[in-house]
């Protein structure tokens, strides 16, 4: 079987090419890691109440920092959970987007393509309007709405358990998304204005203001496990880029890949929006930007997207809560307002290689 292995000797290795790409990758990951750590520090340091950076660092690393009681609360109960939620949600949405784009082999796919965002919005709106007093119900409602929307999409897309067509899935996602958007609009209409209405709208536009340790304790494991599991499929996504059939020729089962990744990405997206709302742009653009910088290999793309998405959301949140302080902008406004021009710039300078 291996008889022809020895027939020729290889002469000209392309190692220089490979190693320059590897150096570039190492650099970019180094920068991203430093940036991630820096984002946490800056996210905790900046805000209406000034806390000296030295003391914050000391406190974060567990030393006695001499923070006042109020500073202690601001750092540990407000800013740190908020920053960590930003890292998780930004990373979650970016990875979910990268996986969806890989799965659909389409650069226009986003984490919301299967109706997750619309379902979550309806669930969140219901929770706010019907049980506005109980903050716990909001993420639960949002997650349940997202899950319901995706389940409807799946059941529509595969009558009688036949093989799922990716196009049917997308179309079903669009239809179910519109349906849930209609319900949300109707709920908004029924609410007849007031504070609850602005709560709903603010949630839909996205924000990190609801971050707390209890929420993080539930969401962090879900988001991190999903990201890890999606990373596990990275090489399979590479093969899938060559087409379902070619993937199969090198031993990757597309059916398993679809099933596994659809469950993982939708769970990841639902968990990401549950507390933070349906923040736009990150899931679509961060994977693109990383692809432009690092190439399409999902083994690099997925971890890079996780870090970059997290950093980007933390910095966007920083702008959202300081630009018009004490008023807070929905962070979705910032992600798109600053992200889109940067994205367009990269597209231009890199020659639109989507």
């Amino acid at each position: 079987m291996r008889s022809w292995r020895s027939s020729t000797v290889f002469t000209e290795p392309t190692t220089s090419l490979v190693s320059s790409a590897r150096r570039r990758t190492t650099w970019l990951f180094g920068i991203l890691l430093v940036l991630t750590f820096g984002s946490v520090v800056v996210g905790v340091a900046v805000g209406p109440v000034a806390v000296p950076l030295r003391r914050i660092l000391a406190s974060l690393f567990g030393y006695e920092a001499g923070l006042s009681a109020i500073q202690e609360v601001i750092v540990w109960q407000l800013r740190l959970p908020r920053t960590l939620l930003g890292l998780l949600v930004g990373g979650g949405l970016a990875v979910s987007g990268a996986a969806m784009q890989g799965l659909f082999r389409n650069p226009l796919a986003s984490p919301y393509v299967l109706g997750v965002a619309s379902g979550a919005s309806t669930g969140a709106a219901l929770a706010i309007l019907l049980a506005g007093g109980m903050a716990v119900l909001l993420p639960v409602g949002a997650f349940a709405g997202a899950a319901l929307a995706v389940l409807v999409v799946y059941s529509l897309a595969r009558p009688g358990g036949r093989r799922t067509s990716i196009f049917t899935l997308i179309l079903a996602g669009v239809a179910v998304g519109s349906f849930f958007s209609a319900i949300t609009s109707f709920l908004i209409f029924l609410s007849s204005g007031g504070e609850k209405l602005s709560d709903v709208l603010f949630w839909i536009m996205g924000g990190l203001g609801r971050a707390d340790w209890a929420g993080l304790a539930i969401l962090a494991p879900v988001i991190l496990i999903c990201i890890g599991a999606i990373f596990y499929f990275a090489r399979d996504l590479n093969a899938l880029a060559l087409g379902e059939e070619t993937a199969q020729h090198v031993g990757v089962n597309p059916e398993t890949l679809y099933k596994g990744l659809l469950v993982l990405t939708t769970t990841l997206t639902a968990a990401s929006v549950a507390l933070a709302g349906t923040i736009g742009f990150i899931g679509l653009a961060i994977p693109h930007i990383m692809r432009l910088l690092l190439g399409p290999d999902h083994r690099r793309l997925i971890p890079a997207s996780a870090l970059a998405g997290g950093c980007f959301l933390v910095w966007s949140d920083l702008v959202a809560r300081t630009a018009f302080a004490p008023a807070e902008l929905p962070v979705g406004v910032i992600t798109a307002f600053f992200g889109a021009p940067f994205f367009l710039y990269l597209l231009r300078s890199k020659g639109a290689k989507l």
Binding site: L242, H249, V250, N253
Partner: protein, 261 residues
């Protein structure tokens, strides 16, 4: 490694079999060409062999092991396929694509071993795509793309190679280059099954020709035995002149323009 089709049937729509009770075998180191008009079942037969399609009836065996029972990875080590055409989702470089031929041999997190690197570079040299190494596969011409995917299949170090219209987009020199690679690999034990439209090229490359029509084997034998005026008229509905090259003795088929019957 030999490949056998046993009583193979398949239909995309019920009641319209595309492959109908096909039984044939390719012994180790032999090349068999599948010829026949559009829709005769050539590509479907290859896709059944590669595991992309599951037969309605019958089985495919590699050295006696049923393809359906092999683990995907194990199948991918034994058998590779070059498809007719495909669209690539993202801007992978030529080398990255060829390297994907090593997926059946390496763990998810493993770096390329020196053995992988040798297989990749050897395959790229055979298929003459070394100079394209850093280019995006999506920026290549049809023929260059075909050679890249041949390189990927060769990097898989298969015992059986399936080729679906491998020479369609290739220029003359690369057509010959392609076929000489295939012949050289065969000399080293590679079994080849290819669907091909160019009957002259088929006659020069393969040991045996299987002529299909409507999913049924009509003829099976040596190029000289199968490529006759009568058979070509019966199966393709075309009048053709069959000749032999004066110097090399190679058989050639010249379809007569305006003479379809």
């Amino acid at each position: 490694m030999r490949i056998d089709f046993r009583d193979l049937s398949f239909s995309y729509e019920q009641g319209h079999p595309v492959v109908n009770a096909v039984s044939m075998g390719v012994p180790s180191g032999q090349a068999v060409g599948l010829i026949g008009p559009n829709g005769s079942g050539k590509s479907t037969l290859l896709r059944l062999a590669s595991g992309n399609l599951t037969p309605d009836r019958g089985s495919i065996e590699l050295d006696g092991d049923a393809v359906a029972a092999l683990r995907p990875r194990e199948l991918a080590r034994r058998l590779a396929m070059v498809e007719q055409q495909r669209t690539v989702g993202f801007d992978f470089t030529v080398r990255e694509v060829v390297a994907m031929g090593r997926i059946p041999y390496t763990g998810r997190w493993m770096r390329e071993t020196s053995q992988d690197r040798e297989a990749i570079e050897r395959a790229m040299r055979w298929a003459e795509v070394e100079d394209l190494s850093a280019r995006s596969v999506r920026a290549l011409s049809g023929g260059e793309g075909q050679r890249v995917f041949l390189a990927m299949a060769l990097a898989q170090e298969p015992s059986i190679l399936l080729l679906d219209e491998p020479t369609t987009f290739l220029d003359l020199r690369h057509q010959l280059g392609f076929l000489s690679i295939v012949r050289e690999r065969m000399a080293n034990g590679l079994t080849v099954l290819l669907a091909i439209h160019d009957l002259t090229l088929a006659a020069q490359t393969v040991d045996r020709i299987v002529m299909l029509r409507d999913g049924v084997i009509r003829m099976d034998g040596s190029p000289h035995g199968v490529l006759t005026r009568k058979n070509i008229r019966d199966v393709f509905g075309v009048n053709a002149a069959i000749g032999r090259h004066a110097e090399t003795g190679m058989l050639y088929v010249l379809p007569a323009v305006g003479a379809s019957s």
